[in-house]
């Protein structure tokens, strides 16, 4: 088992390396920070721009391959992911950004997974009944609503709640109020900032899990082994819980791998709409600022998140699927 996970990790490391390298070449060849420098007042001469970029390791005179070799050399030797055109170090800011993003997503990831799977089981057990139809149609409706627009509508809703009550209950943007007292007021402030983004990401996030879980469970509910369990005297709910549920969770566990990067991309939209200065917003802004190193670093982070998700999915499969353990 451990050997298998090690082998998978090795393959993913190679993949991360390749996608990051490809991303670097794409970024280096299309992002030109020198263009933005021309908009500064007073306008610097091209020589000044070139000199300042050379100092930051962003020498525009070098070709893509030479810059790639320099950049990779710095990462391998001192884990230095380079600098932005304005001189800021990527390493210094990276940690804060990841922390903000993780704080934003962790609650909604867990809630989404639990609610989605629970609703999937619930609706499968009541197939074609009223509850099933409501839950499943809601999930299909969410599928045709783009994430940023969904978040924006939630934001509008929260604003109208604030207006209706006449005071600011929910904060629709930002991460915390500056200068708040520590202790209880800080906690209330935290909750008020968390509530809207977490709510939005959760209610628009569980649809995928719900549909998948419902489908897989329905495939198994009428299987022979469940009928045998019923014949041995288990109630319908016991048979579903002990026999069908476990089998039907295997493909769902695997699909988590492919939804974790989706949460990450959904995260771009959430951070952009709710103005949380996390890693997704950073990457979009950095691309607007023609910042090669930040764009590549965030892309590498996205790949790593994906790989972690995929390995976790393999691990979860071995937990719920006894057949894999035997091999």
């Amino acid at each position: 088992m451990l050997k298998y996970l090690m082998k998978r990790s090795g393959i993913y490391l190679v993949m991360i390396f390749l996608t990051t390298s490809a991303g670097y070449f794409l970024a280096v060849s299309s992002l030109k920070p020198a263009v933005l420098e021309q908009e500064k007042i007073p306008r610097p001469t091209p020589e000044q721009v070139a000199a300042s970029f050379r100092g930051l390791g962003l020498d525009p005179a070098k070709n893509a391959w030479e810059r790639y070799v320099d950049w990779l050399g710095n990462i391998v030797t001192h884990w230095d992911w380079g600098r932005s055109p304005n001189g800021a170090s990527v390493n210094a800011e990276f940690g804060d950004r990841v922390l903000v993003s993780t704080r934003l997503f962790i609650a909604s990831i867990i809630l989404t997974l639990i609610i989605g799977v629970a609703l999937g089981v619930y609706s499968a057990a009541r197939q074609y009944k009223f509850q099933d139809r409501v839950i499943t149609s809601y999930s299909y409706l969410v599928h045709i609503l783009p994430a940023p627009i969904a978040y924006f509508l939630v934001q509008l809703g929260a604003i109208s709640v604030n207006e209706a009550v006449g005071q600011r209950i929910f904060f629709v943007t930002g991460i915390s109020t500056p200068g708040i007292d520590p202790g209880w007021p800080a906690f209330v402030d935290l909750v008020a900032h968390y509530a809207v983004p977490t709510f939005a990401m959760t209610i628009f996030g569980w649809a995928g899990y719900q549909i998948a879980q419902r489908q897989y469970l329905l495939d198994n509910v009428n299987a022979d082994f469940v009928r045998t369990a019923r014949a041995k005297g288990l109630t319908r709910n016991q048979a579903i819980r002990r026999h069908a549920l476990r089998v039907s969770f295997i493909p769902v566990a695997q699909s988590i791998a492919f939804t974790i990067p989706a949460i990450f991309t959904g995260g771009f939209f959430a951070e952009a709409i709710f103005a949380w200065p996390g890693i997704g917003l950073w990457s979009i802004q950095s691309i607007g600022l023609q910042d090669v190193n930040v764009a590549t670093a965030t892309l590498a982070y996205g790949s790593v998140i994906f790989a972690i998700g995929a390995i976790l999915a393999d691990f979860a499969t071995t937990l719920v699927d006894p057949r894999v353990r035997v091999q």
Partner: protein, 324 residues
């Protein structure tokens, strides 16, 4: 055997034509099964209406998307401008027609081409197996890993050589590049299991050429998946375009799309509500009509479909009698 015939649909036909043995073309069976699903037909009509609107809707209004009406700036719907005007005084109807056309165009191209690519890629993997399969799977997973949104952002906001291309073309290329992997994986696993079926083995041992096996046995079986993926691909591409343009990457002005219109209007929802809600409604009609078509299409193309329409009771009973 030139056609794959659904026995029940065949009976349906023979009952109509007084018990004569008639072989109906597969396309007709598919068409009939599709027409039985009311939701799907309604979806198809909405989609066709929108498509037509995007082509000839320009004749509904004397204005076009470049003309500014200085007397009606930021006005709500009125007899002069059916849907109102933007803050710049441009007729919203003209903008919507243009935006719908670009959105449908992106959806059709990305949906169609990515289905083709994934079918060919997935079948190739399943057909050759071994090393070819391993290498192609590696490339595929590496592509899945790459966050598409960053590549979209880099490609559309870079100031390098890509700047000269129109933004919708760039978006199509990038979306195409990142949209086919999921289906390719599905096609691969599905055709791998199909290759093990007895009828494929039998055809192989009978010396039927591979190309024919693929066409006769594999394509009809994965056809339902591919058709479904075509409509899903359109929806996905339309949604991706809206999402990307909404946060300011993707399509850039002066090109107009539904996403650009919705995104631009978010700042002033309270003062210019029509600028936000009208394009949003059109987007919903577009993606909603495609979603309504999904189930009907899947059923129509499924060779093991149990949709038998009006022939239900009597026909099935006669079959049982005759087979006894």
């Amino acid at each position: 055997m030139t056609n794959i015939i659904d026995p029940i649909a065949e009976i349906d036909e023979s009952r109509v034509s007084d018990g004569q043995d008639v072989v109906i073309a597969k396309s007709r069976i598919i068409f009939r099964r599709f027409m039985r699903n009311r939701t799907a037909v309604a979806g198809l009509f909405v989609f066709l209406a929108l498509f037509l609107f995007s082509l000839v809707g320009g004749f509904l209004t004397p204005w076009n998307k470049d003309t500014i009406d200085p007397y009606n700036i930021g006005m709500g719907p009125s007899p002069d401008h059916f849907l109102g005007t933007s803050q710049a005084g441009i007729d919203l109807l003209a903008l919507i027609v243009e935006g719908t056309r670009i959105s449908i165009f992106i959806g059709l191209i990305v949906g169609g081409v990515s289905v083709l690519v994934s079918a060919v890629y997935g079948c190739t993997m399943a057909f050759f197996g071994g090393k070819v399969d391993a290498i192609m799977l590696f490339i595929l997973e590496a592509l899945i890993m790459m966050p598409a949104i960053l590549v979209v952002a880099v490609a559309t906001s870079g100031s390098g050589g890509l700047k000269n291309l129109p933004s919708w073309l760039l978006l199509i290329v990038v979306l195409l590049f990142f949209s086919w992997m999921g289906t390719a994986r599905l096609v691969r696993s599905l055709s791998m299991s199909l290759m093990q079926r007895d009828y494929v083995k039998a055809a192989k041992y009978m010396g039927v050429p591979s190309r024919r096996i693929v066409w006769r046995h594999l394509v009809p079986n994965i056809g339902s998946l591919l058709v479904l993926d075509f409509t899903r691909g359109i929806t996905g591409a339309v949604l991706a375009e809206v999402a990307f343009s909404f946060i300011g990457i993707g399509i850039k002005l002066p090109d107009v799309s539904l996403g650009v219109l919705i995104g631009q209007a978010t700042g002033q929802v309270s003062s210019f509500p029509w600028m936000f809600w009208v394009p949003l409604t059109v987007m919903f009609l577009l993606t909603g009509s495609l979603a309504m078509m999904n189930d009907g299409l899947r059923d129509a193309f499924d060779p093991s479909s149990s949709s038998i329409g009006r022939a239900k009771r009597t026909a099935v009973r006669t079959v049982k009698k005759t087979t006894k």
